[in-house]
C-alpha cells in the first residue's frame, strides 16, 4: 500500500499570555491509501491541532515549529504541506484534502442555502471541468434568433476564456460589467446541478428540495450529510473527519457512520477519523493511533488495540468504557497542563506502572510486533 500522507516529527506550539503551550510534540504518523485511521484521545490531547496542521490552518497564536508533512497529490507529486505557499494550499484545501467538522450546524453558513454552499466548493475547484461540460453540451451549436445568437456567441467566448485562462484581463473586465457578467449564471446553475447530484449520493431522499433549504430548516443528521457533501464535492484524496458524529444522537450516528463507510468505497478516499469514542473507532477504522497530551503513545491495527493493548494509557482508556454490571472507572489524575508538561513520558504521573526512568527519559516508539508500535519504557 502506498503512503499518501506522512507526518514526520510534527511540533506545534501556542504562544499564549500564560506561556508556551506545547500542544504537539514530535508526532509521526502515516496514512496508507484507502485506509481509515482513527485518532483517539481525550479533549486537549492535540487531535484537532494535528488535523489543522495537515491543512496548514493552525490558528494563531499557534505555530508549527518543526516537522514535515508529505502529501501525495492527485497528479502524483509529493509535496511538503508545511512549505507550500498560500495559493497552492488553497488549491489543496477542499480539493485534495477536505474536512468534516464536529458541529454540523456551525459549519454551515446560516445565510446561504445548502445548494449554494456546495456549489461554492464545486466552482472553486472544479471550474475547468464544468466549463468543458458547458461548452460541449450547451454551447456546442450557436443558432436561433440573431440576438440570441450574439448572446450565445459571447457566452461561448467567455467560457472558452474561463477554461483557458481564468485570470485573463478581458475576463476580469467583463465580469465587472453588469448584465455582461450574467454569463456566470450558467456556471452557477451547472454547479448547483452537480450539488444536487452529490446530495443524492448522500442518500438524501429529496435532494432538489434540500438544496434550496437554509441550514436552520434541516435536522442535525441532514446538516451533517450536507457538510459531508461539501467535503466530498471535489472528490478529495483525504477526508479528515473531526468527531463528525459526537453531537448526533445514536441512531443518526449509525446512519452517518454507515454513510461515511459507503462513501469511502464509492469515492475511493482515505479517511482520518478523529474521535474520543472507542466504540466508533471499533466500528470504522483499520488502524488506530492513541494520542495523549500531544504525543502518540500507541499505534496498531484496530483488533490489536482492543485485544492486546500495550500502553498503560490505552489500557486505562479501554477500562473506562462503561459496561453494564461493571463499576464505573476513570483514569486517576488529570490531563497535564501543556505549558509545563511532565518530563520524560507525559503519562508517568498517572501511570500505575511508572518506573524511575519514566520521569527522566522520553520513551521512543518501538515496533513490538509487526505494525504495532508503542512508546513506553515497559516495552523498550
Amino acid at each position: 500500500m502506498e503512503e499518501i500522507l506522512n507526518i514526520k516529527n510534527l511540533v506545534v506550539r501556542f504562544y499564549t499570555y500564560e506561556g508556551v503551550v506545547k500542544a504537539i510534540e514530535g508526532v509521526n504518523l502515516s496514512l496508507k491509501k484507502g485506509e481509515t485511521l482513527g485518532l483517539v484521545g481525550e479533549t486537549g490531547s492535540g487531535k484537532s491541532v494535528t488535523s489543522l496542521s495537515i491543512l496548514a490552518l493552525v490558528p494563531p497564536p499557534g505555530k508549527v515549529e518543526d516537522g514535515e508533512i508529505f502529501f501525495k497529490c492527485k497528479d502524483g507529486r509529493k509535496l511538503n504541506l508545511l512549505k507550500l505557499g498560500e495559493k497552492e494550499l488553497m488549491h489543496i484545501r477542499g480539493n485534495e484534502i477536505s474536512m468534516v467538522f464536529q458541529e454540523p450546524g456551525a459549519a454551515l453558513n446560516p445565510l446561504y442555502t445548502i445548494g449554494e454552499q456546495i456549489a461554492e466548493a464545486i466552482i472553486l475547484h472544479r471550474r475547468k471541468e464544468l466549463c468543458r461540460k458547458i461548452l460541449e453540451k450547451e454551447l456546442r451549436s450557436v443558432n436561433g434568433l440573431p440576438f440570441k445568437k450574439l448572446l450565445l456567441r459571447f457566452e461561448k467566448w467567455a467560457y472558452k476564456k474561463l477554461l483557458e485562462d481564468p485570470n485573463s484581463l478581458s475576463l476580469k473586465i467583463v465580469s465587472k460589467i453588469p448584465l455582461l457578467n450574467l454569463y456566470s449564471r450558467r456556471l452557477k446553475k451547472y454547479a448547483k446541478k452537480e450539488a444536487v447530484k452529490i446530495l443524492r449520493d448522500m442518500r438524501i431522499a429529496d435532494p432538489e428540495r434540500v438544496a434550496d433549504m437554509y441550514p436552520h430548516e434541516l435536522s442535525g443528521g441532514m446538516k451533517q450529510r450536507a457538510v459531508i457533501a461539501m467535503a466530498l464535492a471535489c472528490n478529495p484524496i483525504l477526508l479528515i473527519a473531526d468527531e463528525p458524529t459526537t453531537n448526533l444522537d445514536v441512531t443518526v450516528q449509525a446512519q452517518i457512520l454507515n454513510l461515511i463507510r459507503e462513501l469511502k468505497k464509492q469515492f475511493d478516499t482515505t479517511v482520518l477519523y478523529i474521535t474520543h469514542d472507542l466504540g466508533v473507532i471499533a466500528e470504522m477504522c483499520n488502524r488506530v493511533a492513541v494520542m495523549y497530551a500531544g504525543v502518540i503513545c500507541e499505534l496498531a491495527e484496530v483488533n490489536r488495540i482492543f485485544e492486546k493493548p500495550l500502553h498503560p494509557y490505552t489500557k486505562a482508556l479501554l477500562e473506562c468504557i462503561p459496561r453494564p454490571g461493571k463499576k464505573f472507572k476513570s483514569i486517576k489524575g488529570e490531563v497535564p497542563n501543556l505549558i509545563n508538561p511532565p518530563p520524560g513520558c507525559r503519562f508517568h504521573p498517572r501511570c500505575p506502572w511508572a518506573m524511575e526512568i519514566c520521569s527522566k527519559v522520553t520513551p521512543k516508539m518501538v515496533e513490538v510486533e509487526k505494525g504495532h508500535y508503542v512508546a513506553c519504557h515497559l516495552y523498550g
Binding site: R93, G94, S98, E103, A107, L108, N109, L124, D212, M230
Partner: protein, 312 residues
C-alpha cells in the same frame, strides 16, 4: 409556452429567496410602528422625487436648490394662497424650501451614512479579521478620534475646510467612521471564531472571499440598524451646523438653514409670542418626521434581523 417554462424555472430558482422575503414581510406586518416608519420614509422619497412638480422653480431660475424670494422685506409673512407656508426673513418661500430641502436631507443622509458605513466596513473588517498590528493601528486611530467631543471636532474640521454643506458632510464622515469600524470589528471578531469560517478556509477560499462572502454578510445586520437610525440623526446634526451658519449658505433649500433664518423671529412679538410660528414650526415638523421615520425604520430592520439571529 416558452414564457411559461421560463417563469416556472425562474420561480424554482428564486424559491428560497422569495420564501425569505415573505417571512420578512410577515415579520414587518406584525409591528405597526415599522409600517408607519416605512410609510413616512416612502412619503419623503416621493416628495424628493416629485419636487420639481410640487414646487416648480421659477422660469429661468439659476439653481433649483436656492429658494426663490418674493421681495426683500425683512419681516416674515404668514401663510397665504401664494405662499402656502408663508415666507421667512428676506421673503424666502418656506414651502419651496421644505420641499427641495427633502432632497438635501436625503443627499446629506445617504452620502454621509454611505461613506461612513463603507469606511467602517473596510477598516473594521480588515482590522478584526487580521488582528495584530493592523488592528492596533486602526483601533488607536479610532481612540484618538473618540477622545474629542464629536461635535467640537466636526466644527474644527469645518472651520479648516471652510464653511459649506460639503465640508460639513466631509467632517461628519471623518469623525463618524470609527463608530461603524468598531461595530464591524466586534462582529467580525465574533464571527471569525465560527466553524463555518474555518470550514470555508478548509474548503480553499481565499482571505478576501472568506471576508466578503462568509464573514461580512453575517456581520452586517446590526450595522444596518444603526445606519438607518443615523440617517435621521445625521440630518439633525447637519441642521444644527446650518443653524450655526457653518453649513448651507443663506437661501439654500435646507431645513436647518431655514430654521437658522427664523432665529430672530422665534420669540415673536411681546403681544403675540407665536406670531411667526410658521418660520420655525414648519421646517421643524419636516425635520422631526424625517428623523422619526428613520428611527421607526430602524426598528423594522431590527425585526428583519430577528430571523437572522434565530438562524444561528
Amino acid at each position: 409556452m416558452v414564457l411559461r417554462v421560463r417563469f416556472e424555472s425562474f420561480k424554482k430558482e428564486a424559491g428560497p429567496t422569495i420564501r425569505e422575503l415573505k417571512f420578512i414581510v410577515k415579520r414587518i406586518r406584525k409591528s405597526p410602528l415599522s409600517i408607519v416608519g416605512i410609510i413616512i420614509i416612502l412619503t419623503f422619497v416621493a416628495i424628493a422625487i416629485l419636487a420639481p412638480i410640487l414646487a416648480p422653480p421659477p422660469e429661468g431660475w439659476y439653481d433649483p436648490y436656492m429658494i426663490p424670494r418674493d421681495g426683500f422685506s425683512v419681516t416674515p409673512r404668514p401663510p397665504s394662497p401664494e405662499h402656502l407656508f408663508g415666507t421667512a426673513e428676506g421673503q424666502y418661500d418656506i414651502y419651496y424650501g421644505c420641499i427641495w430641502g427633502t432632497r438635501t436631507a436625503f443627499r446629506v443622509g445617504l452620502i454621509v451614512v454611505g461613506c461612513t458605513v463603507l469606511m467602517g466596513i473596510a477598516i473594521g473588517s480588515i482590522s478584526g479579521y487580521y488582528g495584530g498590528k493592523i488592528d492596533e493601528i486602526f483601533m488607536r486611530l479610532t481612540d484618538v478620534i473618540y477622545a474629542f467631543p464629536g461635535i467640537v471636532l466636526v466644527m474644527v474640521l469645518v472651520v479648516i475646510l471652510g464653511p459649506s454643506l460639503e465640508s460639513v458632510m466631509m467632517a461628519i464622515i471623518l469623525v463618524g467612521w470609527p463608530t461603524y469600524a468598531r461595530l464591524v470589528r466586534g462582529e467580525v471578531l465574533r464571527i471569525k471564531q465560527e466553524d463555518f469560517v474555518e470550514a470555508a478556509k478548509a474548503m480553499g477560499c481565499s482571505d478576501f472571499r472568506v471576508i466578503v462572502r462568509h464573514v461580512l454578510p453575517n456581520a452586517i445586520f446590526p450595522l444596518l440598524a444603526v445606519a438607518t437610525l443615523d440617517m435621521g440623526s445625521i440630518v439633525l446634526t447637519v441642521a444644527a451646523f446650518s443653524f450655526l451658519g457653518l453649513g448651507a449658505p443663506i437661501g439654500y433649500a435646507d431645513w436647518g438653514q431655514m430654521i437658522a433664518l427664523s432665529r430672530n423671529w422665534i420669540i415673536g412679538t411681546p403681544a403675540n409670542p407665536y406670531e411667526y410660528w410658521y418660520t420655525f414650526i414648519i421646517p421643524g415638523i419636516f425635520i422631526f418626521t424625517f428623523v422619526l421615520g428613520w428611527g421607526l425604520l430602524g426598528d423594522a430592520f431590527r425585526d428583519i434581523l430577528d430571523p437572522m439571529l434565530r438562524r444561528r
